[in-house]
Amino acid sequence: MKHLSEEELVWRHYGESANQSEGANQSEGANQTDEHLKSCAQCAEAFEALTRDLAEIAPIDPPQREEGYGQRVWAALAPSLEPYARRKRAWLGLGLGLGRGARMRWGLVYGAALALLVAGAFYSGRQWEQQRKPPVTAVRQAPAPVKQHVVVVVLSDHLDQSERLLVELKHAEPDSPEAASALSDQARNLLVANRICRQDVTGADDPALAKALDRLDRLLAEMASQPGGLDAAALAKLQDEMNSESLLFQVRVLRSGISNRRKAGKTRLNGGAI
């Protein structure tokens, strides 16, 4: 007599056939298995053992969420979402996913920077020409997309590093002073970069980014202001703050968005389609 395989027993336990097939074949297979189990003591015993083993692995009971959990999720999520109609218009624009106002302001900033660069280059060229009388040469200027790309890269790197720091903070153990001290050092390094990025996005019509950088600034400042490193209480407080504001999640979302812009910018620079 051919005995049932362990796989056949497993699928009998779950009420499915071992062979992935449709309708009649499935129930026919189940019937054959049942018939065999009735007539074969060895397989019946193996089936019973399997059933017992699987019954031992009780479903994991997740910890209860409070009644307003869904609203808490929504509160954390909402600032990262753009209404659909607005989002479409933004993507139909310059293609960098910025709002219209943001594009105009960034455009003005880049325009002013470019004008300054042109003026500086022109002035330097004139001076140099007067002194040495060289042959006239054209001043090559970086095209605007290159500059946009640089800003996006800097922001993307900063958010990437901040995300890593927040992940470390999230998993930091209070009984590891070395790790806590390293966190303070990293926070100090990131604080300066964060303030520069914060200044850059001022008036860029990206409230989610500005808000997240503000929160990040507060958290980094607190982390950095502990010269001897973070003690257990300070660590717990920072972790609470981070969790209550869903800061890690927000930074993750922003980093992912900026990273997409970065890729889009790179494609654009390489002459590819976005």
Binding site: E6, V10, Y14, E16, A18, P63, V73, F249
Partner: protein, 193 residues
Amino acid sequence: MFRMGKSDHAAIRAILAGDKEAYGALVARHSQSLFRVAFRIIGNEADAEDVVQEAFLRGYRGLEGFESRSNFGTWIYRIAVRCALDRLGSRRRNENDRVGEETEPERSQVQVADSAPGPGRLLLSGEIGAMRESAMQSLTPTERTAFVLRHMEERTTEEIGVALGIQPNAAKQAVFRAVEKLRRRLAPLRVNR
């Protein structure tokens, strides 16, 4: 503002017409079930909450691709499963400290014949729980996810296949491998049973 009375489809129509707030109703309605499956797959409260948020974010961004004939609850559930699987995969890649969990089954035989409650028994039940968790940790992310979906969430192999983006037979194999591994790892618990 939440509009709890709205059906999922009506909420989706409103969102696609530019009413972002309508998504709040969907989030409120489906957060608990997403947290449950995420926690069962991930086994960690904070990460499970992250998965829920990420799933809703991905869901929002992909809402234009949602087919109106489908069920939003099922659709977002699948997204959450994929997010949890991704999270589990990246966590495993980053983990360096799980060597200690590789307990040799021969060395960890646990006697469970005594049914009298007491400190010893409580300690033992904690130990059994730890062994179960260790056994679950020995599964690959796909095996663990497939097993959780089949054994705890009572999903069919077809549903598991769709959620994991694999063929139903591959889903079946993943569940079977998980059961095999778990039985092997938990064999010491059967002593004196």
